[in-house]
Structure formats: structure tokens, C-alpha cells
């Protein structure tokens, strides 16, 4: 009864906190708090999902990301500001400290307003580069919205991004039954470094390019910032501690105006709606740990041999033992933990390693419930003794990093654990040889003791 009550209590608290898996305190930084009216639908969606939103301007004295060394907020959302810097409370260093403390940041930039210097500095630490002089506008003369940007071509219309590569889960593509598109007005493009932590969500189309609208409105200079697919319009970084930062190149795409806008492609016949609202929900949900969060429920390993004990998680195994390893994982989906399914063409891999892996094996789902999936595998331990780790190092784009290490000793065969010689068929001639020698010896002794010499032998001996 008590366990049932506590379970129900746990369930209620879980429902009450049905929001992000890592806290609900959200700080929104705007030039002017009144500006939030532009983004009322986006911010309303966030509040509707359970975030406690605090609005601040960079100039505010009360703004502080840390209090007594602890984060004051779980997530930060930046909208474009006019000022060159963001003041002493939001320096690049503080933003990076916030990420190091596992805080998440969603950064909305605009091609019309210069990006703040502290943001540019923080981004360059993460190997995300903005155009020089912090201004750049992405245009595409082939994929623009005819309705609103017939002359300037700076409202990009893009299809939903789809999966990044085979084997990567597609979190960010809303359904588009009527050919709905994403509209990115006045976007600033980002150039990404080669690091594995950076993942673009949305790239510019092949014919898009970035230019400086102040200096290059007539003719492009020699230094092209980037063009085509090298330009990332929505970029994510997931740090090693699984803190997330997302750069949205177009803050305007989050405004109410573009949530409901009707747009028309260059060759399109009819106007179509935008899917900005759903896309914004998914991007913000991913950044604020509402989706793409994995959790390890338990890990278990045991001997898988007949006639041997199957104690859970023993500290020691013998070389060449058959062993079963299981891990239970859950994935957070908006407001609850659900069973984690490994995407097609991807695998959850177990490494059995001493310094370097001796075995790297794919785990297969064995038991699936509503809240978790158990993945397991059976394998024979390597023929080498030592201190080994069962290691799960699951790092995938858009999923938080899972690193689990369980250390076990692997010992030699004991002297009485080797197979007996009669069990080895190759030894049978030698065993029968020993038998023959023993019988022959007993026979020889009997002959020597009890043989009566024959006549011939006697005559020889007496002679």
C-alpha cells in the first residue's frame, strides 16, 4: 500500500513537472521587454509547455546568470538587440560558464541587427563563425518569397530539413501535407568548424549566399563569406556535458507575423502556409531538453553459462566466460519518458575494453515497455586477463551523450578449470598408450615372478 501511494505521489510530481527534463526556469533577453509582443505566439507556446519565463533587458542590473555559484536559470533565450555589447552581466565568458554548468541557450540572430560582440566571441569559441563586422544577409535569387521579397530576395523559402545523415533521427521536420515551407526572413548565415560537436539543422540552399548589405549592395567584394550548403542557417552545438546551444539565423522567423504568413515560391502557383511555428517548437524543445534526451535506467551483467551461478553484476569473471550484458534506456518526449528506439541504420554499441576495445558489439532490443527499452547482448569474454570495462559510449547528433563504464576483473583459468584430457579427442591415443603400459607392466611383473623356464632356456642357462 505504501509503495502504491509513493508511486502515485511520484507520478503526480512527474505530471506536475511535465516540461523539460532539466528544469523550467527560462530567461528571455530582449532589447526592450515590450518587444515580446512580436513573439507572443512563440513565447506563449513556451509558457504553455510549462516554462517559467523571466524577461530581462541586457541593461538590467538585476540580471545575473549565477547566484552563489549556482545557475539562476536553466535555459536562456536571446532575441536580437541593438547595442554593440550585452553589458557586464552577459559577457562571452559568462555565457560559456553557463554552458559549462549545463545550461542551454537558444540564440536568435538577425541579418538586420548586428550580432552583439559577446555573442560573436562566445560563438567563435565554439567554432561557429559569423560574417565579418557581425553583419551579413543571406539571399537566394532562386528560392525567395515572391509575396514579400520580390525585389530583395531576402526571405528564404526552404523545405523541411529532413534527416541529417542516414542513421540520425529527424527531430526537426514537421509534417508538410500541403507542401508547406519554412520561411526565413532576413537571415544571417553561420560558417561551422569541423568539430564533431557542431551539427547544422538547416543549411542554406545551393544557390544562396551571404553578403554585407551595407557595403556590398551593388557588387560583391572579393571576400565571399560563404555560399550554398556551407552556410548554416540553424546550427546546434551539444557540448561534452550535453549542454545545448542553438543558433537560429533568423529571429524574424519566430515572430507572429511569420508563424501565420502565406508565402509563394518563385515557380509556385498558389500561396502556401509556413511551418515556422511547429519548427520553432521543435528547435526550442530540443534546445531546452524536451526532446532528444536519453536516460539510463539500469545496467546489468551476469554469467551466461549452464551450471554456474547467475549473480548480477559480479566483480570478477574468467577469460572465455559467456556473459550477458543488458542496459535499459528511456527517451524524454516533451513531457514523459518513453521507450528509446535506436534509429534505423544506427546501433547502440557496447565496448568491452582494456585501454582499447577488444569487443565492440551491437546491442539488440530484448524487452520493451512503455517507458523503457532493454538492450542486451551475449558474448564470450576475450582470452586475455586484466581489468576490463563494459563501456557504453553513445554519442549521436541530437541525442545527449551517454557514457557508462562498469569495471570488472577478468582472471585466468584456475588449474582445475581446464578441460580434462579425456574430453580432448586428440589425447585419446596417448591415454590408451598409458593404459597399455600399465597393463603391460602388470603382465610383465606376473611373468617375471611366476614363469617356469622352458626346457630350451634351462639348457642354455645351465650351460
Amino acid at each position: 500500500m505504501t509503495s502504491l501511494t509513493s508511486f502515485l505521489l511520484l507520478l503526480f510530481t512527474a505530471v506536475a513537472q511535465a516540461i523539460s527534463s532539466s528544469g523550467s526556469r527560462l530567461l528571455v533577453v530582449l532589447e526592450d521587454v515590450a518587444e515580446k509582443a512580436q513573439y507572443s505566439k512563440f513565447l506563449g507556446d513556451l509558457e504553455g509547455r510549462g516554462f517559467e519565463v523571466t524577461y530581462e533587458t541586457p541593461k538590467s542590473d538585476s540580471l545575473s546568470l549565477f547566484h552563489l555559484g549556482e545557475r539562476s536559470y536553466d535555459h536562456i533565450l536571446f532575441f536580437p538587440t541593438k547595442a554593440k555589447g550585452l553589458g557586464p552581466n552577459l559577457t562571452a565568458n559568462l555565457l560559456l560558464q553557463f554552458i559549462n554548468a549545463q545550461g542551454n541557450i537558444l540564440l536568435a540572430l538577425s541579418g538586420q541587427k548586428q550580432a552583439p560582440t559577446s555573442v560573436v566571441a562566445a560563438l567563435s569559441e565554439l567554432d561557429i563563425h559569423l560574417p565579418s563586422e557581425r553583419t551579413g544577409l543571406v539571399v537566394d535569387h532562386f528560392n525567395y518569397d515572391v509575396t514579400s521579397a520580390d525585389e530583395k530576395h531576402d526571405v528564404l523559402l526552404l523545405p523541411t530539413p529532413g534527416a541529417l545523415r542516414p542513421g540520425v533521427k529527424d527531430f526537426f521536420s514537421p509534417a508538410t501535407p500541403n507542401g508547406e515551407v519554412l520561411a526565413l526572413p532576413q537571415a544571417i548565415g553561420q560558417l561551422l568548424g569541423n568539430g564533431a560537436l557542431l551539427t547544422p539543422i538547416l543549411r542554406a540552399p545551393a544557390t544562396a549566399y551571404s553578403y554585407n548589405p551595407k557595403e556590398e549592395s551593388e557588387v560583391l567584394g572579393d571576400e565571399l563569406f560563404a555560399a550554398g550548403k556551407q552556410l548554416s542557417l540553424v546550427t546546434t552545438v551539444q557540448a561534452r556535458n550535453s549542454a545545448r546551444l542553438t543558433v537560429v539565423g533568423s529571429a524574424d522567423m519566430l515572430t507572429d507575423q511569420w508563424f501565420d504568413a502565406k508565402v509563394k515560391k518563385v515557380d509556385g502557383k498558389a500561396s502556401v502556409a509556413t511551418v515556422n511555428r511547429e519548427f520553432a517548437k521543435r528547435v526550442s524543445g530540443w534546445t531546452f531538453n524536451e526532446i532528444g534526451v536519453l536516460k539510463v535506467n539500469w545496467i546489468e551483467h551476469h554469467l551466461n553459462e549452464e551450471g554456474q551461478g547467475n549473480q548480477s553484476n559480479p566483480k570478477i569473471y574468467r577469460i572465455k566466460n559467456d556473459v550477458t550484458y543488458s542496459i535499459s534506456l528511456s527517451e524524454y518526449e516533451w513531457d514523459h519518458w518513453a521507450a528509446f528506439q535506436v534509429p534505423a541504420e544506427d546501433d547502440l554499441q557496447l565496448e568491452f575494453s582494456m585501454l582499447s576495445p577488444f569487443h565492440r558489439l551491437s546491442l539488440k532490443p530484448t524487452v520493451s515497455s512503455e517507458e523503457s527499452t532493454t538492450y542486451s547482448t551475449n558474448f564470450k569474454l576475450p582470452d586475455q586477463h586484466g581489468i576490463f570495462n563494459f563501456k557504453i559510449n553513445h554519442k549521436r547528433p541530437f541525442f545527449n551523450n551517454i557514457e557508462e563504464k562498469n569495471t570488472v576483473s577478468v582472471r585466468h583459468f584456475a588449474h582445475d578449470e581446464w578441460p580434462r584430457s579425456y574430453a580432448i579427442s586428440g589425447a585419446w591415443p596417448w591415454i590408451s598408450g598409458i593404459g597399455a603400459t600399465v597393463t603391460g607392466w602388470l603382465f610383465f611383473v606376473a611373468i617375471w615372478l611366476y614363469s617356469k623356464p622352458t626346457g630350451k632356456g634351462e639348457s642354455k642357462k645351465t650351460r
Partner: protein, 286 residues
């Protein structure tokens, strides 16, 4: 995008002059590939309607230069976007090169091997060169593949090194063992040899008896010294039994005391039994 690419030329061809009024194009284009020192540069004139058909060879010391006149609706004009994009066909990696444009629509681009990223230099297949001419306003842009470029690396030079960047994903499976378990030959062969060895015992028995071996003195020996003979021979069998027990179950500490007991027994009984044998020898019966 693919749709657009296929659309633009078909529009140009089908609609012809009517469409040309509001679309970008080019004319009087020259493609020159060669090294500056030697005059052996290959020049080829082409236009929108007659694109170069052959794959362009781009050697290590060569300069690839394109001069063209951009036109909007048939009139020479400077476009905002004038790019030559080289694309690696397998990975889809692209490198854009910006034309230097003049007011009268004249556009020039010049590139050397050192301008190309290493991924393109290492391409095994010819690169696709795409020309993009477009600008603000309502005119349709020009965006078409115009020719292919084959990169000819210098056979003497060190090939460029490119290391693929790390991307998180599943890795190769590993199943490493140092030494495979030892294997026995087929059981039939072991069985045959075991039987051959075992068959030696009856052969030994038969051969011994055939050569005159016998146990005729058994009765005599046992009537003279029954206890000592019985115990002596029994102790020899017992010793073999101890060895068998050591093989199957006992450990050394169980075996040693038993061997001690059996050994003393055979020593004591043996001196009596062998004395009897000696007696037979002295009596001339052996």
C-alpha cells in the same frame, strides 16, 4: 532545386525570346586552361547555347580562366551573383568562386589548384562546374552545369593529405581474440590410433606366450609364500590404482600418504616374495 534546374533550360528553349526578356544569361564566353609560362593554353569559346562538350583537363600548374559577358534579357548588365561552383559529385561538397564583374557585364574568374579545397583536389571523378548568374529584382537567374573539370594532379608532387573529420555515429564492430582455441583432429582418426595402441596389449600377451612365457610357477609360489606373494602383487596393482585416483580425483596431498603406505607394504611383502623367487632360482628351477 532539381526541378528548378530542369525548368530553367526548358523555359529558355521553349519560350525563347518571350522569356529572355526577364532572365539572366551570358554570351561571348571564353574558357582558357593552361600554364602562364608556356603558351600552350587551351582556349575555347562557348555561349549559352553551345556549352563546352569535352571535359576540361585542369593540370597542377594550370590556370583556369573564364571570361564572359552577363546579360539580363539580352542586354549586358552586371549581376549581383556571378559564381562558378565546383562540386565533387560523390560527396556533393561545393566550392564557390566569385566572378569579378564590371559595369558592362564583363565577368572574369581565375583559379589555380591552390584555390581549390583539398577534398576537391582528391576527387576521383570529374568535378561539376556550375555557373550561377542572378541578381535582385524579378528576372529569372541562370543556374546550370556548364562543363566538367578533371583534376590532373602532378605525378611527382606529394598528394595532398586529407583526414576525414570525426562524425559521431556507429563504429565498426570488433571481435578480437589473441589465439583461437586449439582444435582436435577428427574423432575417427584419434579413435583408430587409440585402438591400434590398445591392440598392442593382446599382441604382447600372445607373443610372450608363443615365445614360451608362462605362469606355471604360480601355484608353487603361492603354496610356499601365499601371504607375501598375494600382498606384493596386490600392492603393485594398488599403486597403479593410486595413480589412477590421482588422475581422476585426488590431489597430491591425498596421494602421497597412500603411496607411502602402499610403498612400505610392497617393500616388506616384496622382500619375502622375492626371497621365495630367489629360492626357486637357487633350486635351479628358474
Amino acid at each position: 532545386m532539381r526541378f528548378l534546374r530542369s525548368l530553367v533550360p526548358s523555359l529558355l528553349l521553349a519560350a525563347g525570346a518571350a522569356q529572355a526578356a526577364s532572365s539572366w544569361g551570358f554570351d561571348e564566353a571564353t574558357l582558357a586552361v593552361g600554364s602562364k609560362k608556356a603558351d600552350g593554353s587551351v582556349k575555347e569559346k562557348f555561349s549559352e547555347k553551345s556549352l563546352p562538350k569535352k571535359t576540361v583537363d585542369f593540370g597542377r600548374t594550370d590556370t583556369l580562366k573564364i571570361i564572359l559577358t552577363a546579360k539580363e534579357g539580352g542586354k549586358a548588365k552586371r549581376p549581383h551573383q556571378a559564381f562558378l561552383t565546383l562540386q565533387e559529385p560523390e560527396t556533393g561538397l561545393e566550392a564557390p568562386f566569385v566572378f569579378t564583374t564590371k559595369e558592362n557585364g564583363k565577368a572574369t574568374v581565375e583559379l589555380k589548384h591552390s584555390d581549390l579545397p583539398v577534398q576537391l583536389l582528391k576527387s576521383a571523378k570529374p568535378l561539376k562546374a556550375t555557373l550561377t548568374l542572378a541578381s535582385f529584382g524579378s528576372s529569372t537567374g541562370y543556374n546550370n552545369r556548364i562543363f566538367d573539370v578533371e583534376i590532373r594532379p602532378d605525378p611527382l608532387a606529394v598528394p595532398p593529405v586529407y583526414e576525414k573529420p570525426l562524425r559521431y555515429g556507429k563504429l565498426e564492430e570488433i571481435h578480437h581474440i589473441f589465439k583461437a582455441d586449439p582444435q582436435s583432429p577428427p574423432k575417427v582418426i584419434s579413435m583408430v590410433f587409440a585402438l591400434i595402441v590398445a591392440a598392442m596389449v593382446p599382441i604382447l600377451l600372445i607373443a610372450t606366450f608363443a615365445l614360451g612365457g608362462n605362469v606355471a610357477h604360480l601355484q608353487k609360489a603361492f603354496s610356499t609364500a601365499p601371504v607375501s606373494h598375494g600382498i606384493f602383487y596386490g600392492s603393485i596393482i594398488a599403486m597403479e590404482f593410486v595413480f589412477y585416483m590421482y588422475y581422476s580425483t585426488w590431489n597430491l596431498f591425498q596421494v602421497l600418504p597412500v603411496i607411502g603406505v602402499v610403498g612400505v607394504v610392497s617393500l616388506l611383502s616384496g622382500s619375502k616374495a622375492l626371497g621365495e623367487v630367489q629360492g626357486r632360482r637357487l633350486a635351479g628351477e628358474r
